[in-house]
């Protein structure tokens, strides 16, 4: 495989999340999945953050942040601010940070009733 092809193949890889900054701080080749409780939904431009408290087996709590696109893309995905009030239980998957901090690019979340929430569905024309 030549260098040109490798470079070009990279160009067309989908970014973990679209917005105003490079997404190189996330490892798009890995995913993490945690189950927890929504602490806060920071519905903001240019990125929103879903803050989730995750309780470990030993009882300790780690607070994770999951980055997504801004409000208009989330709305196009059917994710409103009121969709995820504090206290909501969910299982969420994301591309983790490369530096090990408890944050990730939000890929998908599943509520206890089975509803799946994918921020990037907002880019599908409809």
């Amino acid at each position: 495989m030549n260098r040109q092809f490798l470079l070009a193949a990279f160009l067309l890889l989908s970014a973990p999340v679209f917005g105003h900054h490079s997404t190189a701080m996330f490892d798009a080749t890995k995913t993490i999945t945690v189950t927890g409780t929504v602490k806060e939904f920071q519905y903001s431009n240019p990125h929103s953050w879903l803050i989730v408290e995750v309780r470990a087996d030993d009882g300790s709590v780690v607070t994770w942040g999951f980055e997504a696109e801004g409000p208009t893309t989330l709305m196009r995905s059917g994710i409103r601010k009121s969709t995820l009030p504090a206290g909501t239980r969910l299982t969420i998957t994301g591309h983790p940070m490369t530096d090990g901090r408890p944050a990730a690019a939000w890929v998908t979340a599943v509520l206890e009733n089975g509803t799946e929430l994918n921020p990037r569905n907002g880019f599908v024309p409809r």
């Binding site: 040109q4 092809f5 490798l6 470079l7 070009a8 193949a9 990279f10 160009l11 067309l12 989908s14 970014a15 679209f18 105003h20 900054h21 490079s22 190189a24 701080m25 602490k39 920071q42 903001s44 431009n45 240019p46 990125h47 953050w49 803050i51 607070t63 994770w64 942040g65 980055e67 801004g70 409000p71 208009t72 893309t73 709305m75 196009r76 940070m97 490369t98 530096d99 901090r101 408890p102 944050a103 880019f123 024309p125 409809r126």
Partner: protein, 299 residues
């Protein structure tokens, strides 16, 4: 009547032949519409040495039919977004899978592009938008978020959700600032005219930037010509030619498609875009050229 009597003498046919020839010429020489092919538009751009020459040519083709009144406004109402199904964020929608951007760059800029992509592959990348700079032009044509358009006979505003940016296109007959009075800005200075539902734009006074993440640079000598037109009720097409005598060996053409979004509950609206409203969106360029979040506040 015999068969020979059915044929008109050539002297009578000649005016008809001329009329047909003129009609064909007129049809082929019009200001290109939304259906114009990429190949034809690439060839059109190559016929000219500068954006100004192309723009003047389009003005000539339009002739005196360049007006717009409140009664003839095209319907560009609604909220639009770029069609990402083409090639994602790639500036040039003809960029094929497995290929680098097809711009004809000078060798130095081609090397910079390849190095940029190589480093990004290693996670070393910083986007100036991370500092909350607006995308500006021409980069703004490749941003994937919401767009709105405000059309009046004298001005058209092209509004982009990213960084709450607005490009003003003056169609009231004014000219660009005098050369000695020009200064580079993110969106430059745009004048234009309307012709049969098509908005033709010439932009200069732009500042240097890059076409998109993992795409080439452009210099502050870049100038643009754009033709925008609704292809149907939902689809807005933009032909865009970039002329950059510093960095490009020939004009770089791209064709962008923007789709009007269905929003029956009228929930979609462009809000102000300020990168530091949320501390968790604060990113910084590192010494090695990579990007990192500053300090998270999840408490």
């Amino acid at each position: 009547m015999t068969a020979s009597n059915k044929c008109l003498p050539f002297s009578l046919l000649r005016p008809l032949v001329w009329a047909a020839a003129i009609a064909i010429h007129s049809a082929s020489a019009q200001v290109p519409d939304a259906a114009a092919s990429r190949e034809d538009m690439v060839a059109l751009g190559k016929r000219f040495n500068s954006a100004e020459e192309l723009y003047q040519y389009l003005q000539q083709q339009a002739g005196s039919n360049t007006g717009l009144t409140w009664q003839t406004l095209p319907d560009w109402r609604g909220v639009y977004s770029m069609d990402l199904r083409q090639t994602g964020l790639a500036y040039d929608t003809s960029q094929a899978p497995g290929q680098l951007p097809p711009a004809k760059l000078i060798p130095e800029q081609q090397a910079i592009l390849e190095e940029r992509v190589r480093l990004a592959q290693q996670g070393i990348e910083f986007d100036p938008l991370g500092r909350c700079e607006p995308p500006g032009a021409p980069r703004g044509v490749s941003e994937p978020f919401l767009r709105e358009y405000a059309v009046t006979p004298e001005q058209t505003w092209l509004m982009n959700e990213v960084a709450a940016e607005t490009r003003r296109i003056y169609t009231d007959g004014r000219q660009h600032l005098a050369p000695d009075d020009r200064f580079p800005t993110f969106d430059g200075d745009s004048i234009g005219f309307w012709h049969e539902g098509r908005l033709v734009i010439h932009t200069n006074q732009l500042r240097a930037g890059m076409y998109q993440r993992s795409q080439p640079n452009y210099s502050d000598d870049i100038e643009l010509v754009e033709i925008m037109q609704k292809a149907d009720e939902r689809t807005l097409i933009a032909h865009v030619w970039a002329f950059d005598p510093q960095y490009l060996l020939e004009p770089w053409y791209t064709r962008k498609t923007y789709l009007k979004l269905t929003d029956p509950e009228k929930q979609l609206r462009i809000h102000y875009w300020y990168c530091f409203d949320n501390q968790n969106n604060d990113v910084q360029e590192q010494e090695d050229g990579s990007t990192q979040f500053k300090d998270f506040d999840f408490d």
